[in-house]
Symmetry: C2
Subunit: 123 residues, 2 copies
Amino acid sequence: MTKYEEEIYHIITTSTGHLTVEQIYAALKKKYPKVVLATVYNNVNKLWKAGLIRKISVENMPDRYDRVIKHDHLVCQRCGKLEDISFHDLTASLREQMGEEFLFYDLKIFYICQDCRNSGLAG
Amino acid sequence: MTKYEEEIYHIITTSTGHLTVEQIYAALKKKYPKVVLATVYNNVNKLWKAGLIRKISVENMPDRYDRVIKHDHLVCQRCGKLEDISFHDLTASLREQMGEEFLFYDLKIFYICQDCRNSGLAG
DNA sequence: TACCCAAATTAGAATCGTTCTAAATTTTTT
DNA sequence: AAAAAATTTAGAACGATTCTAATTTGGGTA
């Protein structure tokens, strides 16, 4: 692992997770002010291809990066905020239905977060 | 519903589903060669906001649009191909865990499709 | 140590998907 | 028919991401 790769991995895995490339870039610049955005892209892609981090796509949001520890996501339908949630594990059940073809799954649960409920003008 | 809105809705709901904006645009141009890409964007957004179609985001893929009939998705990890699959309904269980906050969920199940298995040089 | 090679980083252009703005057109209301 | 509202168009603009080519870095190895 290179310096940046390690650093970016560290940022992703020790934060609350769910960081965008821009957020990772901002965090990384505190320590290495000269670093360039492309380096962040290069390294998150490398880490992702290596299976060391997880990429999360939500409609109308930039991709976010997360730890690989198994968990599901709570997504605010209004502001896109992500939180971790653990719903019961579906792996055994999916393997039963699909057999060895099954690789992994991604479960997103949508709701309206408290911030949006409060500040929301309309229900 | 306007002419284009209706036509786009029809294209999405009668196809195998999972169409990108480009594919919808191509289909629409067969009947209305003068139509413009922005019109497709305008209308899929309108339909989506109205809850009449579903938007599907997968990492590294353009968004796709689908019918709203409840079903889950099988996603090829290699080529991104989408297919419908019905896994058992998690709604009751999620409502039990989360209460009224729960809105809906999105379950994506990853595998490697047959085409990719065959043509794939490496395993 | 000095050299070589491969990999990583940089800079910036380019691309893709999507949204925006303003003008033109169509539809609806009055 | 006139006015108002909504839709479509054209094309610029934008945000996110990838690409290309040049430069730098970091090991190995002669």
